[in-house]
């Protein structure tokens, strides 16, 4: 097995810098705001280095832009990286906070050798303006250690990898501090010297855990990595160092995110019709915008136009510090239009299902109804509403045997308040329902009301007059 490890030395920095091409030094500080964690090249030129106290850094560069590191955001960012890497490799494992493993021995045939894989990954990194140190190792831990040195090589030779590892100083091996000191006291300085020690002695004198780490590096102990599964939602985030006051300023990073969405949708063979855009403000509640397209869509330019329209309608309430674009609902990509061999019936069938499912998805199943007559004398029982079914080929059995009825039936009888100006037919006596307790005993007439409408009215046993339908 061969593993590729991507180490992102300053992921947050890359993420911020590609959303806003702002000049000026930028540094990321830790959660407590005490120490500089990452510094951009401009900041490093000014003499700022990771690990420096923030006060010292500010003394060196008074107009330094500062961003606080947020573990949650870093986790999201790492997941974003896994998402694009998943386009190239199937077996990916996250190594929080800043690394990714990809299993590549199974990909060699697909890409045509290790150098091709290496090149593909490097190219993808350049496209995304990301800095990553890449290394290949015969075990996950070996790849990781080599990547951290920043001197990874494109080789599958196990001996070469072990030699490289052997030259690493003990501090770079990722042991805990106590073991590291003890090993140094034994007079060991490189990893190679530790490899040479007999395993039982190592476990007895130092600790079994240390032995496990060493064996995992060497590959003599199993180190299974559970594959990461891409989530079924799309979520991308952009943060701005300087607050954005005009909607125009958001478009730059939206363009990038939408391009990634398009790529993601193309890759999934899916479409979407709802985007959720959340604009974060410093002191106010976030603005939530829902962007809906009329049909399933995947093109970035269409989404961008819609978002532009939406932003034109709703000016920004406050300066924006960050934005999140999320897509939760996906629909399968429809087959491209055009007639198939069987003619267009198939196509219409498909279109019917698409339309109905879309309507049902938004309005709920209960909102769509299909009507059918039922065998009953009572007008309110003589019809039923059921779920929508695809109509069959057969013609409906229409017959003039059905009695003459109005096209509108009121949802319930309504008292007749006006005196009709003309009576046209009747009475038609309808009496039934003694068998199920919903007794109906009425005389129906057709009457013209003063407003000119034709109504279906009835008189019940208590001499009350009601309207039950309209001859629409």
């Amino acid at each position: 097995m061969l593993w590729l490890y991507l180490h992102f030395p300053h992921l947050l920095l890359d993420h911020v810098r590609r959303n806003q091409d702002a000049s000026g030094a930028l540094a990321i500080v830790d959660g407590a705001g005490q120490y500089v964690v990452q510094a951009c090249p401009a900041a490093r030129d000014l003499g700022i280095s990771p690990g420096m106290r923030l006060k010292t850094a500010l003394g060196l560069a008074p107009d330094l832009n500062i961003l606080r590191a947020d573990p949650k955001q870093e986790a999201w960012l790492l997941e974003d990286q896994a998402r694009w890497l998943y386009h190239y490799a199937a077996h990916i494992t996250l190594a929080p906070p800043d690394g990714l493993w990809a299993e590549i021995s199974s990909l060699q045939k697909l890409y045509g050798g290790l150098p091709a894989i290496w090149q593909t990954v490097e190219q993808a990194l350049t496209e995304r303006q990301l800095t990553a140190w890449v290394a290949i190792g015969h075990t996950p831990q070996a790849a990781r250690l080599l990547a951290h040195t920043g001197k990874g090589e494109c080789t599958a030779d196990k001996g070469h990898i072990l030699t490289e590892l052997g030259n690493l100083p003990l501090q770079a091996a990722g042991f805990d501090k106590k073991s590291c000191t003890r090993l140094q006291r034994l007079g060991l300085n490189t990893l190679g010297e530790v490899f040479a020690l007999p395993a039982p002695e190592l476990a007895r004198r130092l600790s079994p855990e240390l032995l496990a780490i060493i064996q995992k590096i060497q590959g003599t102990r199993a180190d299974p990595k559970a594959p990461w599964q891409p989530p079924h939602t799309f979520r991308q985030r952009a943060d701005f160092i300087q607050e954005v006051e005009h909607a125009q300023g958001l478009l730059f990073s939206l363009q990038r995110i939408l391009a990634e969405l398009e790529e993601d949708l193309c890759w999934r063979q899916q479409d979407t019709d709802t985007l959720l855009l959340v604009l974060q403000h410093r002191h106010e509640e976030p603005t939530r915008l829902r962007i809906r397209t009329t049909g399933p869509e995947h093109r970035a330019e269409v989404f961008l136009k819609l978002i532009q329209l939406k932003l034109d309608q709703q000016p920004l309430r406050a300066p924006v510090t960050g934005l999140v674009l999320a897509v939760k609902r996906f629909t399968g990509r429809e087959a491209p239009g055009g007639q198939d061999l069987l003619g267009e019936t198939q196509d219409l069938n498909e279109a019917w299902h698409t339309l109905i499912s879309r309507l049902q998805a938004r309005l709920g199943e209960q909102a769509l109804r299909q009507l059918a007559p039922r065998d009953d004398h009572r007008p309110e029982q003589a019809w039923s509403a059921g779920e929508v079914r695809k109509p069959g080929k057969g013609q409906a059995s229409t017959s003039a045997l059905l009695p003459h009825r109005p096209l509108w039936l009121l949802n319930g009888p309504r008292p007749l308040e006006q005196t009709p100006v003309a009576w046209h037919s009747g009475p038609e006596r309808i009496s039934g329902g003694w068998w199920d307790g919903q007794r109906v005993h009425r005389d129906y007439y057709i009457a013209q009301l003063p407003g000119g409408e034709l109504a279906w009215v009835f008189r019940d046993v208590h001499d009350g007059w009601f309207i039950h339908g309209w001859f629409g």
């Binding site: 007559p373 019809w383 059905l402 003459h404 096209l407 009576w423 046209h424 037919s425």
Partner: protein, 229 residues
């Protein structure tokens, strides 16, 4: 003077009202010869909105679109009823020869859903006819629906209150409906494409209550023998 006039008439920039161009928009016959004649021998426009403006239900407004419904359902296209004010009565529709399998009734909760649903229905190739009772509609929304309708090429009839007669609307055909004395429907064309509006006609719809043959009311008023006893 006449020379001046004739030279003016030669000028292509002068529009002459009596020579209106024949429109080539696709249409569907209404099924009523009287109304078709008034509409220039055409009928309901396809790919455009039609509006019927009326005060109350029960004046024969459904019978106006019934011939079209029969044709559309026979052709296997779907008819959508959006937010009807009452229940379309299935036995009556079946009796009139409308295939109920092709009829879908939709009720929406709010205006946003309504417009979205309507737009989707209009754009779909499976739709043959959309009947909608929108209530209040902003002019902007009507224009949007008009565009959707153009994209789909379907017939769409909006039933709205007569209050909106004065409001201008991008719909291609606007009919004002009023009941007549003898159960007929008086149609006033407020707007139509390609020609002057203002035609009036009345469509006999007495048959909707099976009254075609009866001129005088047949119900006998008065004291029933033995009623007093």
């Amino acid at each position: 003077m006449s020379e001046l006039l004739s030279s003016l008439l030669q000028d292509a920039r002068i529009w002459q009202g009596h020579k209106h161009r024949k429109t080539t928009q696709p249409t569907e016959s209404t099924g009523y010869q009287v109304l078709d004649n008034q509409l220039g021998g055409l009928g309901w426009p396809r790919g455009a909105l039609s509006e019927c403006l009326l005060d109350t239900c029960g004046i024969g407004e459904l019978h106006l679109v019934l011939p079209l419904m029969q044709r559309v359902s026979a052709a296997g296209k779907t008819i959508f009823w959006l937010n009807p004010p009452h229940t379309p009565y299935a036995p009556a529709l079946a009796r009139e020869g409308v295939n109920l399998d092709h009829l879908v009734m939709i009720n929406t909760r709010d205006q946003g859903d309504f417009l979205w649903t309507m737009e989707n229905c209009l754009r779909s190739p499976v739709t043959g006819l959309v009947l909608a009772w929108p209530g209040q509609l902003a002019s902007r929304d009507v224009r949007r629906l008009q565009l959707a309708s153009e994209a789909g090429g379907n017939v769409c009839v909006l039933f709205r209150s007569r209050r909106f007669t004065e409001q201008n609307s991008p719909a291609a055909l606007r009919l004002e409906l009023a009941p007549g004395e003898h159960q007929e429907l008086k149609v006033n064309i407020i707007k139509r494409r390609g020609s002057w509006p203002g035609q009036r006609c009345s469509v006999a719809l007495g048959h909707r209550a099976n009254l075609a043959v009866q001129d005088a009311p047949r119900v006998i008023h008065g004291r029933w023998p033995g009623a007093g006893r």
